[in-house]
Symmetry: C2
Subunit: 137 residues, 2 copies
């Protein structure tokens, strides 16, 4: 009898990680999609909403309520593109960066507790493998 299917191991693990993230994000006043958007915007120059949607693999209609909320909370800003007034440029604010970093610190602290169950070498190899395999999806 061989190994279990990768998907059968990875999918529940991903689900568990998401479930663990949810309350942490909530403490920082973020939704999952809000956090994804902040991660995509941080370190990037201002771009159009369509560009952002494509970058995170979401429908353009999907992110609109997310952007509305992030803007209301002062974590991002939006402004019509002077070169093409159909488009709206989006960028992260200083406050958005701080919130994103604080949330990520808490999330990764929690993930470290899970990773602690692995021997150090396996743990480093696991991260390396994930970086490779999730490289170009």
């Amino acid at each position: 009898m061989g190994r279990r299917d990768l998907a059968a191991m990875i999918t529940p693990l991903g689900r568990a990680l998401i479930a663990a993230e949810r309350p942490i994000l909530h403490e920082h006043g973020l939704t999952m999609w809000g956090y994804v958007v902040l991660n995509a915007l941080d370190g990037q120059p201002a771009g159009a909403q369509a560009t952002l949607a494509a970058a995170i693999g979401a429908d353009k209609t999907r992110i609109i309520p997310v952007l509305d909320e992030l803007q209301r909370d002062g974590l991002i800003e939006r402004q019509p593109d002077p070169d093409d007034r159909r488009a709206r440029l989006v960028w992260i604010t200083a406050r958005g960066r701080r919130v994103r970093e604080a949330a990520q610190a808490d999330i990764q602290r929690n993930e470290e507790r899970l990773l602690a169950r692995l021997p150090p070498a396996d743990r480093r190899a696991f991260i390396r493998a994930l970086e490779v395999l999730s490289g170009d999806l």
Copy 2:
């Protein structure tokens, strides 16, 4: 700048694996849930539907159409439990076992192509880590 979040790497990877499985399962006449059910039943003694649902983390109502279809295709059988006639015992048939094994062989063959991108040591460590981390979810 540190590593990416585990969930941010694992979730898209899981999604990609599921997407790759779908057409393979279709060739074997299986749905994703049907395959999950066959995997849960194989090697197990006949049990009640509620037990099965709990084992795969699904709602008891969720699996009913799945069981109907698997039974129609002769991959499982159902019979009222003589000791508690409210319950219906479910078990996999010989044909169900053959279909499950054939599907899994194709699925894992495909997964191996993905894993081939990793150095052999990392690849073994990755599987080991997944087995550990997905152990008790």
